[in-house]
Amino acid sequence: MKRYELFDVDDFITDEYFIDWVLNPQPAHHAFWEDWKQKHPDQLSKLNSAIRVINALAVRPLQAELTTEETDELISQVSARIAPDTVQKNSFLISKKLWMAAAIVLITMGGIWFYHKSNDVSNHQAFTANIFKEFNNTSTKSKIVRFADGSLAVLKPKSKIKYPRRFTGSTRTVHLEGEAFFEIQKNHNQPFLVISQDMVTQVVGTSFTVKAFGNETEFKVIVNTGKVKVYRKTEAQKQLEKSIMLIPHQQAVYSKAIKVIKRDTVQTKLLLATEIANQSFTLNKVKLNEVIAKLEEAYHVQINYDKAQLGELTLTAQLADLPLDQKVELVCKAINANCNFSNGEIYISSHHNQINK
């Protein structure tokens, strides 16, 4: 039996039985302490002081609690991972590897699509469940969408892309309606699939454009760098025979009428194809406004920055072989500026006023 009558205030505090009584009163506890208080009235003031000071202290609540939306998102993500048809992979945090230049394949696809009769029903269900994010570009400029693995898409106006917050499972799959230019991080264990209605564009690590507007008669994929495979979704099982492999400067065009994917060579200059990009994006003491102009032209995006303040800064950097966002980050690092990608747009701002010459 503890000698509570000899306890000082600090002794009470470290006593589990006492603490339990104060914080989590049980009838048995209560009975004991009430009885004890009767027997040792001289200890009462120590007891009460202790309790008063205790009651006056509180833990400051966190400013940044988990929101309801975040909880819902968490639930969706967990659901996706524990669903039976999902194969669990270990590599969510894919380390940034070197980008491989890939060919751009542009396949334009025609007309009104027949609904895809997916062989894999559970994938379809997973798609329609609330586990995907969607970016709908209703503006008049291109927007950048970055994926969890470091890949990115430059989404043209009037285009929409649906993608999971994290790429779990055996593939990295996104759904596109409209047109987008992709720069995909290399990962042999997890091929990247762009699904546009009935067509699938499969890549390992490349950059390419997919053009699939619902009301247009053609579906196009143009390969900038690397290699992609294109096939019709319903033929996924037989894809090996019926798919088309495209390499740089090739494009594939699918027209509904003849239900055939045709391969072609791209005549127009592709600014992000390897040889051209290597030249264009190897920068030696180039002015920022020139670098920005190159990026804007190659990617068809608008980069927001203070031309008057920053335009004349020069930089030396090797930007070839990097995806757009890393190019921008490297540029910012070189001129000691900050970049951020909000709402699909790129913003460069300086964080100090010194001009480097």
């Binding site: 009470f12 505090i13 104060v22 000071v53 006056a56 833990v59 609540p61 909880t71």
Partner: protein, 210 residues
């Protein structure tokens, strides 16, 4: 005497629902959704004190919930729950931080973010008022491990057994650590105030805000 009510944000106040957990073990995903809804916020609150990187923390929590599902048949419902969640989260945060080289170069190897407030309505005298403010200031400056054990013991109202499981130390070590926390407190306090005051102000419990 006012008996404090733990806020709904502490794990302690959430009763383990046997029926819910049984449904989860049986494989009912809808029940698991309810389970996640129940524990996500308190887990986040605790985890945030160890790691203020929001996305990183959410990733760790997501991994934890997936792991619990996968191992649900081996987890015994009841007392085990409260500390099991905290312990698993704490381990994975500290491990991931170490891996990514994000560990803080501090004596305890990590931060524990907790700040103390004073609820003035409890005060009966000016002396107590001064005391309490001094207590708060002293506590705010304790090292991470000591802050953490005080938090777990008084804010989360966890037993020494639970705490020892969470922090990965023996029950005796957790007693010792708590004593050390008070000792630190006393030492810091004596540098500031009068010795006699120290005894009264050692009555330290951390109660959640309403």
């Amino acid at each position: 005497m006012r008996l404090p009510t733990p806020s709904t944000n502490t794990l302690h106040s959430i009763q383990t629902d046997t029926a819910l957990w049984n449904a989860v073990v049986a494989g009912d995903e809808l029940s698991y959704t309810k389970f996640i809804q129940r524990y996500a916020k308190p887990l986040f609150n605790y985890g945030y004190r160890l790691c203020v990187d929001r996305d990183f923390l959410k990733d760790c929590i997501q991994d934890l919930f997936v792991d619990i599902w996968n191992r649900r048949e081996n987890i015994v419902v009841g007392e085990q729950f409260k500390w099991y969640l905290f312990k698993s989260l704490r381990n994975s945060i500290l491990r991931e931080q170490a891996k990514l080289g994000r560990q803080q170069p501090l004596p305890d190897g990590y931060h524990f973010l907790v700040e103390f407030d004073v609820e003035h309505r409890q005060i009966v005298s000016e002396m107590e008022q001064e005391l309490i403010i001094k207590v708060k200031q002293t506590l705010d400056h304790l090292p991470a491990r000591q802050k953490e054990i005080l938090y777990l013991r008084y804010f989360e109202s966890l037993s020494f057994i639970d705490i020892s499981q969470i922090m990965g130390i023996s029950k005796q070590s957790s007693h010792n650590l708590l004593q050390k926390a008070y000792q630190s407190f006393r030492e810091k306090w004596e540098l500031v105030g009068e010795p006699s005051v120290a005894f009264i102000s050692l009555a330290i419990f951390f109660i959640a805000d309403n």
